[in-house]
Symmetry: C2
Subunit: 279 residues, 2 copies
Amino acid sequence: LKSRTEASLWCFIAVFVRAAIKHHSDASVLDFSAKDPGDSEKIIDALKKIIPGESQQHRTLIGDLVKPKDTVLFITPIDSEAPEGRLILPQNQAIRDALDNHCIAVVVKETELDDFLKLGIPPALVVTDSQAFGYVATRIPENVPLTSFSILFARQKGDFNDYLQGTPHLSKLKDGDNILMLESCTHQTNCDDIGRVKIPQLLRNFTGKNLSFTVVGGLSEIAPIDYSLVIQCGGCMVTRKQLINRIKPFTEKDIPVTNYGMVLAYVNGIFERATRMFL
Amino acid sequence: LKSRTEASLWCFIAVFVRAAIKHHSDASVLDFSAKDPGDSEKIIDALKKIIPGESQQHRTLIGDLVKPKDTVLFITPIDSEAPEGRLILPQNQAIRDALDNHCIAVVVKETELDDFLKLGIPPALVVTDSQAFGYVATRIPENVPLTSFSILFARQKGDFNDYLQGTPHLSKLKDGDNILMLESCTHQTNCDDIGRVKIPQLLRNFTGKNLSFTVVGGLSEIAPIDYSLVIQCGGCMVTRKQLINRIKPFTEKDIPVTNYGMVLAYVNGIFERATRMFL
């Protein structure tokens, strides 16, 4: 500290910050200097007390749908939009979940699906990218459980039962209905943005109705308009808890809610077959 | 611009920067304002001219080892060091490479390896994590090509023939030999650092010799000491070209070179079997 004035200033700031924290939270306030790592245990202990227990719980994607030694078939088309040289994170996470559940994970593009099926190994579960569902559904026998990556992730992040009930409302939309697209981040949008362009186009084609869409991103306040339907994004940047809390005000008002992945499934005719196993 | 003085200053800076670029490079200098995106085509054209053609080429990991419709078996143990909920990037990239080559990718932990083998599908290629090689080698018939993720990546990044010739020098190390550990980034090290702790320990155990190690990271200058062996890291942060250029001064002096992955393979007894298919 260079001077008494500076010391007084810091002291004032400390008192002010402490008061502000007390006002907004019931967390305990600890004195801590980043220059003295000896104090770090105190901080870690305090954090442990306020972290919700469920934030440590890993929700399985497919663990309740399979048993050890089952073969799980993942169908991952590689199109021009795919990143170079790797699988996207949801596919990567689904394969890992199969391994964590002691399964044999088989990964093919839709063009090699028949080659795998010829090997004569019946998969216990098939997970496809939504865009290949039409083709995949014709190749996989009706009695084999078939779902999509996006539906597995809708189940992991968000209130799946609300989505299951809300999604069929897509068939009941009327001219003039206003749909809320609820995003949980503030991503850079492009001309093919899923919430701003793709889903609105798909839903106008699917319903043949004159629909309007309101997009709310990040943690922005939501204007109290009567929406006919709320469509929540995948929520990759937020926790399950945050996502469920964001949806709650709508379900409490009996406004139907669904999710980007479920909507894509529904308009592609996947919905009934791909959710049957969760009912 | 707020004043004539400021305008003159910017003009001086522009002239100075232009001269400095001319001095260090034979690239052409373009006037460009980020506020006027209309100029961006000029910049893109200039960049296209100086980007080496090979930076656009994607080197396959397994494409020359398999044919379309082959089954490729990946063995990926999940230990306590594994990240939560996903596969690590090299495994992810190898699976994608199998898909790009129209193969059927099968992914199992070593604990489900026998369950897959019981299905009776002969894999055309088996790729294992080095740490499971001992066990895997006993389960996979001798006539099935078997290699490790680290060897595939040593081949993708670096001069594989130099590594092939340099690696067996590990058996010829003598007391007092000084080994250069060549890293290509300046990562945060921990108590179990592979270049500073793990490999030195492994090599002292393997050879029974009194060895010394010099670690050079990032793009630091290399002191002209006579090294007995150079061990290059995986090079995930640099290009193949950068890595090969960094190794060249040593191969020109006939100093044997190898790579972290190849060393791990050698001391684990994987080396001969896991490189046979590349000879």
